[in-house]
Structure formats: C-alpha cells, structure tokens
C-alpha cells in the first residue's frame, strides 16, 4: 500500500526493482515470453528454414527446377542425385519444392499483411468514429461475410483472371472483412473507456488518441487473428493454384505441383504427396506460432 508512509529500507529495495522494471515494456515482455515457448521456437525455426531456402532458392536448390528429363520421370524418393525423386516431367522435386516455397509463402503472408493494414485502418476508424461512419463502413464490409471465403477467392480470381497478382488481390479482399470486424469491435469496446475520455479532456486530437491509446490496445487481438489466417491463406492460395487460377504451369508452386502430380498418385504416391506435406508443415507451423503469440500477448508486463 503506497498510501502508507514507506520505510527507507523498503524504498531502496523497491527502487532497484523499479529501475529493472523501467526497462521492460509490454512488447518486450511479449517477446520474452514468446522466446521461452518451445513450440513457438520450433515452429519459428521451421518457418525460417523454409523461408531462407525460398529466398535463396538459386543457391539452396541442388538442380534447375525447370530442367525436364523424359528418362528420369517419377524417380522414387532417395534416388541417387535426386534426394526427393523427380516429378512427372523428370524435374528435381527438392528443387521444385524449394522454389515453390517462394510463391506459397508470398501468397500466405502478403495478403494477410495487406488485409491487416487495410482492415485495421478501416476498423479502427469505424470503431473510433462510431455512429453513421461506423454503420456505413461495417454494412459494406458485412456484404463480404455472405460468401464462404474459398468461394469468394475463386470467384474473384475467376473474374479478375488467373495469375499471381490477381490471386494476391483476391486473397487480400477475402481476409479484409474479418480483420475489419475485429479491429472495429475492439476499438468500439475501448473508445468509451475512461482513459480515452481523459485524453479527449486534455484536448488531444483524434489521431493522437488513436496512435497513443487505441493502437496499443487493439494491436493484440488483430495480430492474434491475422497470424492465424496466414495458414488459411497458404491453403487457399494452393487451392487456387490447384484449380489453375493461380500461377501458370511451368512455375513451381506447391498447389500447382499437387495438381499436376495428382495423376501420378497411384504410380508414385510418395512424390505426389510431397507438396501436400510442405503445405501441411507450413500451415501447421503458422497456426501453432499464432497460438503461442496469443498466449504471449496475454502477459502482464
């Protein structure tokens, strides 16, 4: 109890404690907790390996992912020279999986990042402004909730035309409404809190209040949700490629590889399943990472 006088001995002991506390902010505490979670660290490592391999694909891949060979078609896994075998056109699977990570990770992360920025902005503005602005923004956003997300993505790419760019646009649009909704509801919850009112009483502008008070409280729920959507995005993007709405055939992409290897499923099941395994590992890692993030965001600094 501070309201009582403190003895000098207590003061000195608490001062050392507080100076240590001063150095740790909320995000620092989150990072520390995150770093101590074994599942989070394992998943992060797996994803870092996949991402590094994808980024440095020309150096990491043992062979040219586009070089076909008629005589070496569908070599089994662990064949000499081809660790993970070859696909239906005799291309090295490992190299293709490494190159395929480029498209898949890009399609997993970028749409969610774009959706978080746009949805977060829309939601915070709608939530903070309230009233008519809120109603207009949210009613428009709610139109998108009428469609199942996969169907919406398929319809959008169908309308825009196949291709990487259109896929990105379609996926961004698919993820924006839910993130807007979350940003709006959390902002609405805190906009009538005393500290927002007190900040308004000091004459702070809306932008200053949003930057200083709203974002720090809204960021947690948005991040938690957005990170869980990365795995969904990877899967939907692969699905779009599988349906031929994503990247064009020679390009290596996990979804597309799954689609073309489908015919060989009974001839070389191991090879055919490999792209699926990659999608599984990536999306599960992102999901577990998101779970750990949610736990870490709950810390009290």
């Amino acid at each position: 109890m501070s309201d009582l006088p403190v003895t000098p001995a207590l003061v000195t002991s608490e001062i050392s404690q507080t100076t240590a506390k001063d150095r740790r902010g909320y995000w620092r505490a989150v990072r520390r907790k995150f770093g101590r979670d074994p599942i989070a660290v394992t998943c992060a490592l797996i994803l870092v390996v996949i991402a590094l391999a994808a980024i440095f694909a020309p150096y990491a891949a043992p062979a040219d992912p586009y070089k076909t060979s008629v005589i070496r078609r569908l070599l089994p896994i662990l064949s000499p020279g081809y660790i993970l075998g070859t696909d239906e056109l005799g291309r090295d699977m490992l190299s293709r999986l490494i190159y395929g990570g480029r498209v898949s990770l890009l399609m997993g992360i970028l749409p969610v990042v774009i959706a978080t920025l746009i949805g977060g902005l829309l939601g915070v503005i709608a939530g903070f402004a309230g009233g008519r602005i809120n109603m207009v923004v949210m009613r428009i956003v709610e139109v998108f909730f009428a469609f199942p997300s996969v169907l919406l993505a398929v319809a959008m790419t169908g309308a825009l035309g196949a291709g990487l760019m259109n896929c990105l646009v379609a996926l961004s649009i698919v993820f924006t409404p839910a993130i807007t909704r979350i940003a709006e509801s959390t902002t609405t919850q805190i906009r009538n809190q005393g500290y927002i009112e007190a900040a308004r009483a000091t004459g702070a502008s809306a932008i200053r209040i949003i930057l200083g008070h709203v974002l720090s409280n809204v960021a947690g729920p948005i991040l938690t949700y957005a990170s869980s959507q990365v795995s969904v995005s990877v899967v939907i993007a692969s699905g779009l490629s599988f349906l031929g709405l994503g990247v064009a055939p020679p390009t290596a992409d996990w979804g597309l590889m799954l689609s073309t290897l489908r015919q060989s499923l009974f001839v070389a099941p191991g090879n055919a399943l490999l792209p699926g395994v990659m999608i599984l590992i990536t999306s599960v890692s992102f999901n577990l990472l998101s779970d750990s993030l949610r736990t870490a965001l709950d810390v009290k600094p």
Binding site: E197, A198, T202, G212
Partner: protein, 354 residues
Amino acid sequence: MTVATTSNEGSPILVAKGMVKHFPLAGGWLGRSNGSIAAVDNCSLALASGETLGVVGESGCGKSTLARMLIDLVVPDSGHVEIEGSAINLRARADVRRLRRTVQMVFQDSYASLNPRHTAVEEVAFGLSALGHPRREAMKRASEALRLVGLTPELFSGRYPHELSGGQRQRVNIARALAIDPKVLILDEAVSALDKSVQAQVLNLLVELKAKLGLSYIFISHDLDVVRFISDRVVVMYLGKIVETGPVERIYRTPAHQYTKALIASRLSMNPNKRTSQPPLTGDPPSPVNPPPGCRFAARCPIAEPVCRTTIPALHVMDNTVSHRAACCASIPGSGHTHAPAAIDHSEMIEAGA
C-alpha cells in the same frame, strides 16, 4: 432562470448557464430516434474561485452529464460556459483549448481511466504532449505531478495500472489532471469506488492540493457525508434539474426542498436511537423520457398538491438568504400551494436578504 451563484470568496471562475442535454433514444427506423431522454434540463451553476461545489443526487439524475458538458466531453444542446468572465465558444479551437487548460476532470473508475499499456508517468505525460510540450519536458512535469499527489516518481513512474492499488490509481488520475495545471478540477465520483480508509486519504490529499495550488473543485458524489466534508456549497439535482442550492451546512441543517429533505434523511445516523426502518422516500424517479409536466418530484413528494403537477417551479430564494435557493412550489410565495408563504414583493425581499 437565475444563476445560482453567490459567494463571498471571490468572483466566479466557471459559470454554466442554461445547460440542456437531451439524449436521443435509439431504436427508431434506420437510426432515427423516437423520443429523447432529458438528461440535463436547463441547469445553471457558478463556481467561485477557491470554492468547492458539491453536486449530489441519485443515480441517473444528470450529475455526470452536467460535468461532462462543462469540459466539452458532451456537447450541450443549448447553454454556454464562461471561464473567468468570458464565454467559451465551443466551435473556436482557441477557446476549447483555454477551457481544457483551465478545467480538468477526474473520473470515477480509476482502473478504466488508465490505459493498461501505459506506465503511470506515460499516462500523466500523454496530456502534456497533446498540449504541445516536448516529450522530455512532459515526462519531467509528469514526474513532478506524481510527486505532488504523493506517489514517489522513483517508485511509481514505471508501474502499470495493474501494479497499483485503487488509491494509487486514483492518485495517478488526479496527477494526470493536475499536470495540465488547471484552475478547476471536476471530480466525478472520484472517491466513490475506494474503500473508506483510502477514501479519507484521497479526500485529505484533495483538500491539501486545493490549498497548495489554489484550485476550485466541482465535487460530484452520491455520498452525502463526503460532500458535506469537502464542499462549501451544494447543488442538489433531481431528474436533470437543480432543485436546491446553498451553503453546505444550511442545506444539511434546514433543507427546503422535499427531495433534499428525503436525501438528507436517508443518511445513516451515528445515533442508533435516531435510526428508523422507514425509508424516507419510496418509489423510483419517473422516466426521464417523458418527465412529468409540473414539478418533476411531484409523483414522490409527500406534500404534492395539484399545483405541483402543472407548474414548473423555478429556483427561489429561501428565508431571505440569497445564497440558498430551492425550486419547490411549497416555498414559493403566492404559488397557490397551501404551504406556500404569502406573496411578498420580490425586489423587496432581495434587498432584505442582501
């Protein structure tokens, strides 16, 4: 309506005239409202420099709305605020700035009033940065403000709200308001959520700060004993209207309005023999959506007469004491109420009172 002012302590620092706020009721077609709640209906008050004005009344009587209108957190439907004699134009940025530098507010819920992601010093410094002080200076002044409210900055500036006790949190709230260096502090149920011993400490701190910094307080509370302890004058509100105003001891000893009488009688007496099981007042206040046409208290008033249900009583000087006014038909001369004193010439009476 006359301005319920008068104090020999100094010129009024804050005057509110004819404040009205009706909240529209939601639920109509496409957000259109069907009816409104008369939260505050034509209330005027004046705060003398160095004075503490208590505002009492039951829940929902418009105390907090009135307070929020004074610092432009709620935009009034009509009425205006004057600071140190000059009117505040709420559309003019410079005027609003002046209002905020002069008047600050401490809120009831000490926990919700602090951002859980901000340390005490960051919270206090936020308002200063918003007013354009550079970060370093803001932090320095915030530390001083914390020291002022009895929180040693070395110990408390780095703490988050959940690491503080209720009393400490309310001190941070007070520090945040004081950091701006205001002349008037509105305390909206500032000690209501605290337990008794902490309440006493915070009240003593407030009394001390008032003397040290030359502040004036508007002290809103439903706790009559706390109001009696801290206030110089009291305003009693009922259903959006001021029903009685006057010096604190006078109101507590000789309340004129029936509602004030019931309110004062509702306090627990320290004398066990004086305690009764009889509630001084029964029933709920009428709905503010469709307030009764005459006196708003008529439905619960023990001495209500037909005249009370038709005429709206204005604040009227009581017993020749200009500072004590009540809005009750029974004490307005010539109102037609059987308890009303005989009609006297109004001007003559003011003279006598002054």
